[in-house]
């Protein structure tokens, strides 16, 4: 079962290795991890997609919570949220197939961001399904390289998953 965790952490050196180390050390399966600072530069948000049964996910949350640099953890899997991933795909593209590729790019509302003699770089954003779909559609042309960011996520509506929920002050 895949769960999406939204984790607020102190924006300090070493925090990523604390979190990543915890996952590998305790044998948790991490699907993706994306991190960047929030509206408050002292705080970063990690979006972690983790695979495991209920007991494991519970342990992941509890163990993450033990890290002093972790401020708050929310399992947003069952909440309405916008989840996005960015992918860059370098695909073989002889002039003869470029038209076909451009159609696919259109359908997925992706973009061509670089053109070389025999290849293109395509940029797409979306949820994991869409990203998988565009990758699959381009595979017949020959994919040379793929770079994915991992998922980032935000709750829909006015609700935030900020610090107010943890009851110890707001994120200003």
């Amino acid at each position: 079962m895949k769960r999406t965790l939204s984790v607020l952490v102190e924006n300090r050196p070493g925090v990523l290795s604390r979190v990543a180390g915890l996952f590998s050390r305790r044998g948790y399966n991490i699907d993706s991890l994306a991190v960047g600072r929030t509206e408050n530069p002292a705080i970063s948000r990690m979006t972690i997609v983790v695979d495991g049964d209920e007991q494991i996910i519970e342990q992941v949350g509890k163990q993450l919570n033990k890290l002093i640099d972790v401020i708050k953890i929310s399992d947003i899997t069952n909440d309405p949220y916008v989840g996005r991933e960015l992918i860059l795909i370098k695909v073989n593209a002889d002039p003869s197939v470029r038209g076909e590729i451009m159609q696919i790019v259109d359908i997925f509302r992706a973009r061509i961001v670089d053109i070389a003699r025999n290849s293109l770089i395509i940029e797409a954003t979306g949820d994991a399904d869409k990203i998988d779909a565009i990758e699959n559609s381009l595979r017949p042309f020959g994919i040379r390289e793929v770079v994915r960011t991992g998922k980032i996520a935000m709750l829909r509506g006015a609700k935030t998953r900020g610090m107010e929920a943890s009851g110890n002050g707001t994120g200003e």
């Binding site: 952490v9 102190e10 290795s17 180390g21 033990k66």
Partner: protein, 560 residues
């Protein structure tokens, strides 16, 4: 101290923060990168205990912390000094001991360049510290030291390491030591959830065969008195984990002693028969549970712990309760009705008679018997530190602990070599108590250089060394699991330990016959000096009971 604020360096600020915390002792070992701290330390009344190896500085700080209830402090230098700490830190981490460790580091501009005596000690110790810091800005140092002590000693305690590059220690520092700690990511829960508390009270009232399983958390939280009150009010028998020894007096009729792999037979049987098990400050470690799927098969399990991550980690828990054991037991007391549990206590008595704790066969001097005599002669009130091996289990089974914070042993990590430095820390923490180290020839040789520390500091500690010329606990494993093919367990080059003691100005005594036991112990108890007793025993002794791998707790191997 007379220095004006203008001359205040990072190192000075650290020492100020130590004074602020009321630190009276530092255990350590110097080297180039940590000299700024030493230079400032020497100008204060804080006493420094120079050990013989950095690992032992942490062990000594741990022995000090566990016996005093205060936070232990260590200093070490960068590189090899720092890496030598690692086993000590891991040992303290596994037993949740509050220790703050300061390491010197190469200057900031050289960090990351594989400079002379550089190691990434914060990277190395992430998995074995509660938290650690590499200090980059000297103005953060006072706050960091304050946080380090706060984190180490609150919630579930543990070691915290502060790595200070030499230039940071020497830089001018203006920031004051803050009065308060503000950590938005760290708020331990002390008060129990009222609804869960009521549920716990109800379950205790309904149980017919309740059992309390007390662990190290009881002593960390200083909850012994509340525990005794609960036990007396509800007439519930108590088993303990290894770290839980001393949390409930073993001379109380409701005490069943240690449970687990080498637990007392009656304690193990009670655990299998109880219908309600209340775990207090325990981890349900694999050495306690035996085969998980056969653990406490008839019981609903309540688990009280300050660390939510322990709850539900190993065993299924029906009633979780996060919080400080003292707070929780105090609130629980008025919620429960007095009870008698007559039939259950009758059954317990039956179990005691059916399954007494016996030694099995052995040599001329029986270590179990020696430890029983020591327990009697010290009325179960000495502080006992141990090493790891058969002697550790015999100390746990046969001494008869009656007071909290008197059994000091590497329980979670099982670190040989812990005992002597831990005893050094214990004597310094509790000069009013007699401190005994119960050790084996293997373990003792891992840290016996600390005899020099004990001598230097004039510590009248007593060492009872069971010499079987072997790593007999490993021999026991080979006996049961490896076709009695004994490999790499015999020592033929042991020193004459009595003479070794004498070399260190200690009194050396030997026990090789049963009739020597009491007089030699008495002599050691009366002489007020550093004393080592070498007690010669058979390597063929077996620690009974023993739960075989994969078996349930009541499927113990007992002596014929």
């Amino acid at each position: 101290m007379a220095q004006g604020n203008s001359g205040r360096t990072g190192a000075r600020a650290v020492i100020e923060a130590l004074l602020d915390e009321g630190v009276e002792l530092v255990f350590g070992y110097p080297g180039g990168a940590v000299l700024p701290l030493y230079h400032e330390l020497a100008r204060t009344p804080i006493r420094h205990i120079l050990v013989r190896q950095e690992q032992n500085a942490v062990h000594a700080a741990s022995g000090y912390a566990r016996t005093s209830g205060r936070t232990g402090v260590c200093f070490a230098t960068s590189g090899p000094g720092a890496t030598n700490l690692v086993t000590g830190i891991a040992t303290a981490y596994m037993d949740s001991v509050p220790v703050v460790i300061f390491t010197g580091q190469v200057p900031t501009r050289m960090v990351g360049s594989d400079a002379f005596q550089e190691t990434d000690i914060t990277g190395i110790t992430i998995p074995i510290t509660k938290h650690n810091y590499l200090v980059k800005d000297v103005e953060e140092l006072p706050r960091i030291v304050k946080e380090a002590f706060y984190i180490a000693s609150t919630g579930r305690p543990g070691p915290v390491l502060v790595d200070i590059p030499k230039d940071v220690a020497l830089a001018p520092c203006r920031a004051p030591v803050p009065d308060r700690v503000e950590l938005r990511g760290y708020k331990p829960t002390y008060q129990g959830h009222p609804g869960q508390l009521r549920a716990l009270a109800r379950s205790l009232g309904e149980a017919e065969r309740p059992l309390i399983f007390a662990g190290g958390g009881v002593q960390v939280s200083r909850a012994e008195d509340y525990l005794r009150q609960i036990v007396e009010k509800l007439q519930i028998p108590v088993v303990t984990s290894l770290t839980g020894l001393g949390s409930f007096p073993e001379d109380n009729p409701l005490s069943l002693g240690m449970v687990g792999l080498h637990g007392k037979p009656c304690a193990n049987h009670a655990l299998m028969e109880c219908d309600f098990l209340m775990g207090l400050g325990v981890r349900f470690d694999d050495r306690v549970t035996g085969a998980l799927e056969k653990f406490a098969p008839r019981a609903r399990i309540a688990h009280v712990d300050i660390d939510p991550a322990e709850i539900g980690k190993n065993v299924r828990v029906d009633l979780p309760l996060v919080g400080d054991i003292s707070c929780i037991l105090k609130e629980l007391l008025p919620l429960v009705e007095p009870a008698g549990h007559g039939p259950w206590l009758k059954r317990i008595k039956e179990l005691r008679n059916l399954y007494p704790l016996t030694y099995g066969r052995g040599g001329e001097v029986r270590p179990q018997w020696v430890i029983e005599r020591l327990g009697e002669m010290t009325r179960g009130q000495a502080i006992i530190t141990t090493d790891v091996g058969q002697h550790q289990m015999w100390a746990a089974l046969f001494y008869g602990f009656t007071e909290p914070r008197t059994f000091i042993s590497s329980c979670g990590l099982g670190t040989m070599g812990y005992g002597l430095p831990a005893a050094v820390g214990a004597v310094l923490a509790r000069p009013d108590k007699q401190v005994w180290l119960i050790t084996g020839d293997g373990s003792f040789q891992m840290s016996m250089a600390e005899l020099g520390t004990a001598r230097e500091q004039g510590l009248p500690l007593k060492i009872l060394l069971f010499n079987n010329h072997s790593l007999a606990m490993v021999r026991q494993l080979q006996h049961f699991y490896y076709e009695r093919q004994y490999t790499a367990i015999e020592f033929t080059g042991n020193p004459d330990f009595v003479r070794l003691a004498e070399c260190y100005g200690a009194e050396g005594l030997r026990i090789s016959k049963q009739e020597e036991v009491v007089p030699v112990l008495a002599r050691a108890m009366g002489n007020d000096r550093l004393t080592l007793i070498e007690c010669l025993i058979s390597p063929e002794e077996i620690v009974y009971p023993m739960v075989p791998e994969g078996a349930a707790l009541d499927e113990m191997i007992l002596p014929e």
